[in-house]
């Protein structure tokens, strides 16, 4: 459209249909053909990767980590149905996962019933319970988005977490509820005695849930969730009740949160108050935001990154939560699009075919920055060790280097590495900035 060239010769009362031309080169028609392959490709690749991962990482602890990741992926995707797609910030979403999980534990303990169902469908029950609770809470909490919704979610979260020590029959008090997944009806002869069998069950559920949640976002109610997020008032004047649109998103999100709770129940065979308290609700917010709320796959990246931080980093340092916190803070402050946003920033660069021009500037800035940050982390670790290490145990190991934290030398070295690393990064940063703006602009190099 060009505003400077208005059509002034339209007679009053002209039928709008007369102006329509059907042009086969319209983008709508072009997009439809061949897009099926593009849509399916990520799903096929993801499924294949999930199928062969256990052959690459064969030990049991790797399987545990991957299962944990899968559960978090389902939960984070469910959470993003609210946060990213519906614009609802929930501070108490762990209760839907938790209640779904507890329900599954109780089903496991109903041996007569449990022995008649295959284990693979157990998460459906978790989903149904999560959905049921979401219907009750959503009936009053989805009237508004924004602060009111956030406060109600926080209140309900606290309430149900408090109930866990009061209603012992359902939540099992402080010990929680435990059970045995192997009492289920064998599924094609598989009794889920081994971790690897549970892995494939969980992985299968990840693919199915993620696909369903993706499809949800393509349905009328899923599209309107975006519209209501952006502008609830306008949505009302398009014939949609913002409240009902939010309610449906909330209920669907509750279902998939419950599924993740069911998967947790199958994996760990125990659920405690920890599964539904405010801390768990906070973590899922962190995971989702870290991954990026603006893209469907963002929470998946967030779940993978966070689980790695939580498991791998916590093996090497007691301060892992501190680093996770810093990572979260810097995401909020500098990369509100999350990891997915960072990745997607590069799509235009690749489309322009200028990705290679960024490699050197990235190396020149990010490598020194990383080394500087490692130096900084070493200083943090040394301070922690100096203050809290056992008396007489002055030896410590940071980044494969063992030294005495009570001598001056390591402090000087770490300090120097930090200063030099960050210093170089600061010097080279403008060049990177320039290269970036060059790479994102069409046209030849100057």
């Amino acid at each position: 459209m060009t505003v400077s060239d208005p059509r002034t010769d339209v007679p009053k009362g002209a039928r709008p249909e007369e102006q329509i031309t059907t042009d086969p080169s319209k983008p709508a028609q072009r997009m439809r053909s061949g897009s099926l392959v593009l849509t399916l490709a990520p799903w096929v690749i993801a499924s294949v990767v999930l199928a062969i991962l256990p052959m690459v990482f064969t030990n049991n602890s790797a399987l545990t980590i991957m299962n944990q990741m899968s559960i978090t992926i389902v939960f984070a995707l469910a959470y993003n149905m609210l946060l990213g797609q519906g614009g609802m910030l929930s501070f108490g979403h762990a209760v839907y996962a938790g209640v779904g999980g507890f329900a599954c534990m109780h089903i496991m303990n109903m041996s007569d019933f449990f022995s008649t169902i295959p284990l693979v469908i157990l998460p459906v029950f978790g989903g149904l319970f999560g959905m049921g609770l979401a219907m009750i809470v959503g009936a009053f909490s989805t009237r508004n988005a924004g602060t009111v919704f956030a406060m109600i979610s926080l209140g309900v979260g606290e309430l149900i977490a408090a109930c866990s020590v009061i209603i012992v029959a359902f939540f099992g008090g402080e010990e929680g509820v435990s059970g045995d997944r192997t009492y289920a009806q064998p599924f094609f002869g598989v009794e889920f005695l081994q971790q690897i069998e549970v892995y494939y069950l969980t992985a299968g559920w990840v693919v199915v849930s993620a696909a369903l949640m993706y499809l949800w976002s393509r349905t009328p109610v899923g599209r309107m969730a975006n519209a209501v997020r952006d502008n609830p008032e306008r949505a009302e004047f398009l014939g949609y009740s913002s409240r009902w649109v939010r309610f449906y998103s909330f209920v669907a999100s509750g279902f998939f949160a419950g599924v993740s709770g069911g998967l947790f129940a199958i994996n760990y065979e125990i659920l405690t108050e920890e599964n539904l308290n405010t801390a768990s609700s906070g973590i899922i917010l962190l995971v989702t935001f870290l991954g990026g709320v603006g893209f469907f796959f963002g929470p998946i990246i967030g779940a993978i990154a966070f689980t790695l931080l939580q498991t791998v980093l916590s093996l090497s340092t007691e301060l892992w939560a501190f680093y996770a916190g810093i990572l979260f803070l810097s995401t909020v402050m500098f990369f509100p699009g999350g990891l997915a946003g960072l990745l997607m920033m590069h799509v235009p660069v690749f489309k322009l075919g200028k990705a290679s021009t960024l490699i050197m500037p990235y190396l020149k800035t990010l490598l020194p920055a990383a080394i500087g940050l490692m130096g900084l982390a070493a200083l943090v670790e040394m301070t922690f060790h100096y203050r809290h290490g056992a008396t007489g145990d002055n030896e410590m190991t940071v980044f494969w280097t063992t030294f005495d934290s009570h001598t001056l030398m390591p402090w000087l070295v770490a300090g120097a590495i930090t200063l030099i690393g960050l210093g170089i990064a600061k010097v080279t940063a403008p060049a990177l900035k320039e290269a970036w703006s060059e790479a994102t602009t069409a046209g030849g190099a100057s």
Partner: protein, 253 residues
């Protein structure tokens, strides 16, 4: 005479002690283009908000095709065939231009809150949205985020969203506010084009737009309609000239 498209009887609205709308009776026939003009603060936007249930009236009734709208929510009124735009551009800025229009089509095409239909699979939706985009000349901007469009384009998009649902009563709140002359001409033509055969009620400041578009004009001053009639009658009305038009017409000369 057949049932009017929109009929207001004794409509009043007070905010606390301040009476903003002080008893309005107005009847707008089918396929009529009706403009509401008046000085700033006369209550034009409030009147719009009362009709579309953004505010609840203090007294009086609003009837759409003879049906009382009392107690209905905005989305229910919209489903009865009344659609509106806003004084401040009101679109979905983070969504693409195409998606903006497609969302406006969902309810009227019967999709409701369904989660068993995929929007990309529906030819009617895609083609319908493209047809609207073609009418408002935004087909080339189809895949851009709506928030990145120019001001005039955003206004055009909002008109597109407003008409997309197939409503037969269209209400436009200052569609040309803040536009250059060329842009105003452009939007005026667009309005003529897309509201053909529909009932149009618009609030407008620009006199050339009003006299060019409207079949009838109502002049709203301090919450009351002081004159209603054909453009030339209104222009000739002494009270109107005194209250409002005089100053505006003098300024034009």
């Amino acid at each position: 005479m057949s049932t009017p498209a929109l009929e207001l009887t004794g409509l009043k609205k007070s905010f606390g002690k301040a009476e903003i709308i002080r008893g309005i009776d107005l009847s707008i026939g089918k396929a009529e283009r009706h403009a509401v003009i008046g000085p700033n603060g006369a209550g034009k936007s409030t009147l719009f908000n009362l009709i579309t249930a953004r505010f609840a009236p203090s007294a009086g009734t609003v009837k759409l095709h003879g049906e009382d709208l009392a107690g209905l929510e905005p989305f229910q009124i919209n489903r009865k065939g009344l659609s509106r735009s806003f004084q401040i551009t009101n679109i979905f800025p983070a969504m693409t231009v195409f998606e903006n229009v497609r969302c406006a089509l969902l309810w009227s095409q019967g999709y409701k809150y369904s989660f068993w239909n995929l929007v990309n699979r529906s030819r009617e939706l895609t083609e319908g949205a493209d047809r609207i985009l073609d009418q408002i000349n935004l087909l080339e901007r189809r895949n851009l985020p709506a928030g990145t469009l120019s001001y005039a384009e955003q206004r055009a998009l909002e008109i597109g969203i407003t008409i997309a649902g197939g409503a037969d009563v269209i209400m436009l709140d200052e569609p040309t506010a803040g536009m250059s002359n060329t842009e105003t001409d452009y939007i005026t033509d667009l309005i003529l084009k897309v509201t053909a055969g529909k009932t149009l009620i618009m609030v407008e400041h620009d006199m050339s737009v009003v006299f060019g578009l409207a079949d009838r004009i109502s002049v709203l001053v301090y919450g009351e309609i002081i004159a209603t009639g054909k453009p030339e009658e209104v222009r000739a009305d002494a009270r109107v000239q005194e209250a409002y038009l005089g100053a505006a017409l003098e300024a034009e000369h």
